[in-house]
């Protein structure tokens, strides 16, 4: 793999082959992520976690991935305690961090911040979410979840449901699905439809894209139902929010019409989009999806930073 020393800012930085290699490596990482086997390719490596906005699962799964690979972390988990509060620029903060660590994982509320960090740092930078922009490792773990369930990504019919306008995970996921020749069905209320730029890019990359506002019809013959959170704060009118959120709620009764092998995914945390009665059905894949964050991030960090295998076995 040619990822050694490289940044990962957008999923578009990866070729289809590189994604496939990362997914294959992530599968091999599962026992190491569970702690039943041990390996230390990141021994003596320090990874800086530069989290300038709150995050629990992304930061913890990255920290866990580093620890499972035998590396150590230095962490900024609260930007208000850094020198940025004294007016230090992100550029300078990253420049400083890059002299303390072998790689930097960054989450920041501004779009483009990860690209800026990559330019400021002479160490590899991994984007863990830049505002409403990219979140490439989320896309990788989404793909890993689908691949694990179906053994392939090619030709899957994937419904992207809910907030397709502001949900940052869906834009890069849709791009990656196009790369694998998936059929993408966009299902959202008109006010939360996929922005024109994202839609145009999808078409340009040759994706088969259709729109179906009605959840039941969208789900027909689908392999994957990818549900996103509809955020209350996006609506001026609470009644409008209730109406929209209500029509995009997935429950076990609705899934009775679905293909038996359909999986339901969600980047979590959920806020009522998926009823708890789905958890016990074979369709529920969202907890598995959140577990796969660790082996996927291990595979990535190993590819970017890993040295020779030590203690593997």
């Amino acid at each position: 793999m040619t990822l050694r020393g490289r940044d990962l800012i957008s999923v578009r930085d990866l070729s289809r082959e590189e994604i496939e290699e990362l997914l294959a490596s992530a599968r091999k990482m599962i026992p190491y992520a569970e702690g039943t086997k041990a390996m230390h390719p990141l021994a003596n490596k320090i990874v800086a976690m530069a989290f300038f906005e709150p995050s629990t699962r992304t930061r913890l799964s990255f920290e866990s991935a580093v620890e499972r690979l035998g590396g150590t972390c230095v962490t900024i988990a609260d930007a208000s305690v850094t020198s940025m509060r004294k007016g230090e620029s992100l550029h300078d903060t990253i420049r400083m961090l890059s002299s303390y660590a072998d790689a930097i994982v960054i989450r920041h509320p501004s779009e483009g911040s990860a690209r800026l960090a990559a330019r400021a740092s002479d160490r590899p930078v991994v984007n863990a979410g830049d505002g409403a922009g990219q979140h490439p490792t989320q896309t990788l773990l989404d793909l890993a979840t689908m691949h694990e369930a179906f053994g392939t990504l090619s030709g899957l019919k994937v419904v992207l449901l809910g907030d397709l306008k502001f949900g940052r995970t869906v834009h890069s996921l849709a791009q990656a699905l196009a790369l694998f020749g998936c059929e993408v069905v966009l299902s959202s209320p008109p006010s939360l439809a996929l922005p024109d730029q994202a839609r145009r890019r999808l078409r340009q990359s040759g994706a088969r894209v259709t729109d179906e506002e009605d959840v039941r019809r969208a789900m027909k013959d689908a392999d994957v139902l990818y549900v996103t959170r509809i955020q209350k704060e996006r609506f001026g009118d609470l009644a409008e929010y209730e109406k929209v959120a209500g029509s995009y709620r997935i429950d076990a009764a609705l899934l009775q019409d679905a293909k038996p092998r359909l999986i339901v995914m969600h980047p979590l945390p959920r806020a009522g989009e998926i009823a708890p009665d789905v958890d016990g059905t074979p369709h529920a894949a969202y907890f598995r999806q959140s577990f796969l964050a660790v082996p996927v991030r291990m595979a990535l960090l190993d590819a970017i930073l890993g040295g020779p295998r030590r203690g593997a076995g």
């Binding site: 957008s10 620029s89 992100l90 550029h91 300078d92 920041h108 509320p109 501004s110 779009e111 483009g112 911040s113 690209r115 800026l116 330019r119 830049d130 505002g131 409403a132 922009g133 990219q134 730029q197």
Partner: protein
Amino acid sequence: MRELKITPIKNGTVIDHISNGLALEVLRILGVQTIDKDSTVSVALHVRSGKLGWKDIVKVENMELSPRKSNAIALIAPTATISIIRDFKVREKRPVDLPERIVGVLRCPNPNCITNQPEPVESEFEVTQRRPTVLTCAYCDREVEDFLHHLA
């Protein structure tokens, strides 16, 4: 007889074939206030043109365009031509040319882009489509098509 609407200049730059109505924007890009106070700036608005129907022309004495200003003009007036005049003669004439990357000329239309925050960084766009031109922010990936309103 053809009427001479703008007097010739000895040394300087002529920007011709500017789309009708955009000369004042070109002047804004040139930053006329920075031009040598003894130099003449001539602007012709709404001039007949064989190619364009109507066009604008800007002539600036004693100034040659920087690449950055030339890029900015290429964005808002892609039909423009630039002639360098030395000793009353046209020494060089070329259409404006859009490079692959445009640095520092435009503001990103995304207010939450890191280039719009107080960071030591210049805006940067990649030309992702030509005719019509579409630029994509190298940082936040946002596309911009309305260049006039986003000149830095």
